[in-house]
């Protein structure tokens, strides 16, 4: 939602195809290719128009950008899928490189930290963009994590297949977050956020988690 509003505010006309559901990554990563393909085909058909596709989650963007060509190999929709993949942008990447936004901070001074999701970092190559946006905000102090690159332990079905290891991973991650002294952790991936905020909440930590789109919108909104 916030992502759409951010884009609209920058004067972008946003189209949200109501038929969309999921990129197919959960099944793909679990080894169920046929099921992944079935869902992915549906998405490819929906996004035929030759305009940029902006995703507010690095993980989904990564799936479409990196893995569609392989998933669709030999499929009748292969060409369309590759085209779709080439038009995929992660939200912050789009904001920085395409829209070249210049954000004006309207909020109170606050210290935050940034968790980069594995897939936006390593599949989309988005590393500095979100931090660049946060640094544009005058009253926001960004304290980076000690192990920024390390996975939070979500990994989709991993969290339920290997719950103990997943728990240990998010424990290290939330400790790292708390150690920064930030009052909020901002991230661009909903899966990571669900994992991290769920843990912070269970620990009754005062650190909150927020999606970057929501955070940026809140800080820069006129109201």
């Amino acid at each position: 939602m916030a992502g759409i509003q951010l884009l609209q505010r920058e004067g972008v006309r946003v189209i949200y195809p109501q038929g969309q559901s999921c990129c197919g990554q959960p099944a793909y990563n679990s080894g169920h290719r046929a099921d992944a393909l079935k869902v992915a085909r549906q998405q490819v058909k929906l996004f035929k128009k030759d305009i940029p596709i902006v995703l507010p989650s690095g993980s989904c963007a990564g799936m479409m950008f990196k893995h569609y060509s392989e998933l669709f190999e030999g499929d009748p929709l292969e060409k369309e899928a590759t085209e779709v993949a080439n038009r995929v942008f992660e939200l912050t990447e789009f904001l920085v490189h395409v829209l070249k936004v210049d954000l004006k901070d309207k909020g109170e001074p606050v210290k935050v930290t940034w968790h980069g999701s594995c897939h936006s970092q390593r599949e989309m190559g988005v590393r500095e963009e979100p931090k660049e946006l946060l640094r544009q905000l005058e009253s926001v102090e960004l304290q980076e994590l000690k192990r920024e690159k390390e996975c939070c332990g979500f990994g989709g079905t991993f969290a339920v297949r290997q719950p103990e290891v997943s728990a240990a991973m998010v424990e290290d991650k939330t400790k790292d977050i708390s150690d920064t002294g930030a009052s909020a952790v901002v991230s661009g991936d909903c899966g990571c956020l669900m994992n991290i905020t769920g843990t912070l909440e269970a620990k009754q930590s005062r650190v909150k988690g927020q999606h970057i789109a929501e955070f940026l919108l809140e800080r820069t909104d006129e109201a």
Binding site: M1, I4, R13, V14, I15, Y16, P17, Q18, G19, S21, C22, P26, A27, Y28, N29, S30, G31, H32, R33, A34, D35, A36, K38, V39, R41, Q42, E70, C118, H119, R122, E123, R147, K149, E150, C151, G153, G155, G156, F158, A159, V160, R161, Q162, P163, E164, V165, S166, A167, A168, M169, V170, E171, D172, M194, N195, T197, G198, T199, E201, A202
Partner: protein, 475 residues
């Protein structure tokens, strides 16, 4: 070999050991920094790594020819070459060499392949003592354990634990936690063993086809000892550790130590091309090279899985793995832990005993990012999950399809149906919005989730509906 329990059970045990977790976290944090310092020049890293990949890919492309060439050149140099399809055959070959020489005691340099063969136990059954000489391996052998890391076998133990062990196992050892003094004590013991041993056994980092040369890299000197002092030297290697020529050695010589431990080069690069020649005063009279298949030809059969064999065993993928750094090496239950173990072990030993390793990953790609020869480990994990879950009959992967589960298949079927039809999807999200928050914490999957986390909240209204209300265009 069947491991005990599942990865999940072993990991759970490891996680409960706070000391162990501390040992790994500390060690891996520091190794990651050391490696990063080596590759701060992005251009150099990119080009060197592409070269490393190219060299390994070319080797695998020409593998049968190169193996023949290696054999020819080794023989020309006087090195005896043996071929083994299974670990059992390899063990028998080595036993026969040792028995012919009447050998009773063997000193060993580090060799992961010999771990794969469970060589020490095998020789023990035949009255031959095999003594590990790499300090880490020596410690692990004293502790009657398996290595927990392919480069640093005893990394799971701290100095107090090692001091206790030495006190128990080494005669005359005065208890001390000083690494220097413990190292000196081991040196003392092993020096005697080197000079008395009847044979030396080593692994191989690279075998050069063009020259018939065995290349070993190491820091301690035990590798030089076991290949120089005893009258017989036996080197064991997987058939994958070949390079075409001497020039190919150079990029790997750079990538390997820098990735592994952040050193420019290991203390020793030891290149052996023949047994002792006429007039030479030392060096073994016999040098043997044992080439082991053990499933590698099967891995080689398929172009995608073949990439597994590009590995130069630097161990960097372990150091950078968020799962490995939490649970350590023993949780993997096999010889090769960490990301490389997750793809190699199930392919060598089979999906049945080790397929669950493939689920022990979030596919975070940390390993893929740093692998010096660009093995797409995450992609391979997905492939193996796919093989385990669906298994096509022509698959070259050992025991493909054994993890096929009807229940899981049905769940994914249901998922793909609801997610590929807009109507079904909108109904499902509506229902979840209404009922999701009423689910008890103990519902399946939620139970695992909420062990350390608060219950996730399902939005009352789906994003689709909110967006519609906002008036965002649909087409």
């Amino acid at each position: 070999m069947k491991p005990e329990g599942t990865f999940r059970q072993r990991a759970k045990e490891a996680l409960a050991d706070k000391e162990l977790r501390g040992n790994f976290r500390r060690a891996m944090d520091s190794l990651m920094v050391k490696r990063a310092n080596q590759f701060s020049d992005v251009d150099e890293w990119t080009r060197l790594r592409s070269l490393g990949e190219a060299v390994r890919k070319r080797t695998l492309e020409k593998l049968p020819d190169l193996l023949e060439k290696l054999e020819t050149n080794c023989k020309k140099n006087g090195i005896q070459v043996h071929w083994a399809e299974t670990t059992d055959e390899a063990n028998q070959i080595i036993l026969a060499i040792l028995q012919r020489r009447g050998a009773k005691k063997v000193v060993k340099g580090k060799s992961m392949v010999s771990e794969e063969m469970h060589l020490n136990a095998f020789l023990g059954e035949h009255g031959i003592t095999a003594l590990e000489a790499d300090l880490g391996e020596y410690i692990v052998q004293l502790a009657e354990q398996m290595p927990s890391h392919i480069i640093m076998p005893a990394i799971h133990l701290n100095r107090r634990q090692i001091a206790d062990l030495f006190k128990k196992k080494i005669d005359g050892f005065e208890y001390t936690e000083s690494a220097v003094e413990m190292t000196a004590a081991a040196r003392e013991v092993l020096r005697r063993e080197f000079s008395e041993a009847d044979a030396g056994l080593s692994g191989v980092n690279m075998a050069v086809a063009e020259t018939g040369t065995i290349v070993l890299v190491e820091n301690e000197g035990n590798g030089r000892m076991v290949t120089t002092v005893p009258p017989v030297h036996i080197a064991v290697t997987g058939i994958d550790k070949i390079v075409e020529n001497l020039e190919d050695v150079t990029p790997i010589l750079s990538l390997l130590p820098r990735s592994a431990t952040g050193q420019d080069i290991t203390t020793y690069v030891n290149m052996i091309s023949s047994p002792r020649k006429e007039g030479e005063k030392d060096g073994p009279e016999e040098v043997h090279l044992v080439l082991l298949d053990n499933g590698r030809t099967r891995i080689h059969a398929d172009p995608e899985t073949r990439q597994t064999l590009q590995c130069i065993r630097c161990g960097a993928c372990m150091n950078h793995c968020p799962v490995y750094t939490k649970v350590g090496g023993h949780a993997y239950g096999g010889v090769y832990p960490g990301p490389i173990g997750k793809i190699l072990t199930p392919q060598i030993e089979g999906i049945e005993p080790y397929g669950d390793l493939t689920s022990a990953s979030t596919l975070c790609n940390a390993c893929v990012e740093i692998c010096p020869v660009k093995i797409p480990i995450a992609q391979m994990l997905v492939r193996l999950r796919n093989e385990a879950a669906t298994g096509c009959p022509e698959s070259s992967v050992k025991e493909a399809g054994v993890k096929k589960s009807t229940v899981e298949d049905m769940v994914w079927k249901g998922w793909s149906t609801s997610h590929s039809s807009p109507a079904a999807y909108s109904m499902m999200t509506a229902v979840l919005g209404m009922t999701g928050n009423m689910m008890p914490k103990s519902a399946p999957m939620l139970k695992e989730w909420t062990s350390v986390r608060a219950k996730p909240k399902f939005a009352k209204k789906s994003l689709h509906r909110m967006v519609k209300k906002l008036g965002v265009d649909d087409e």
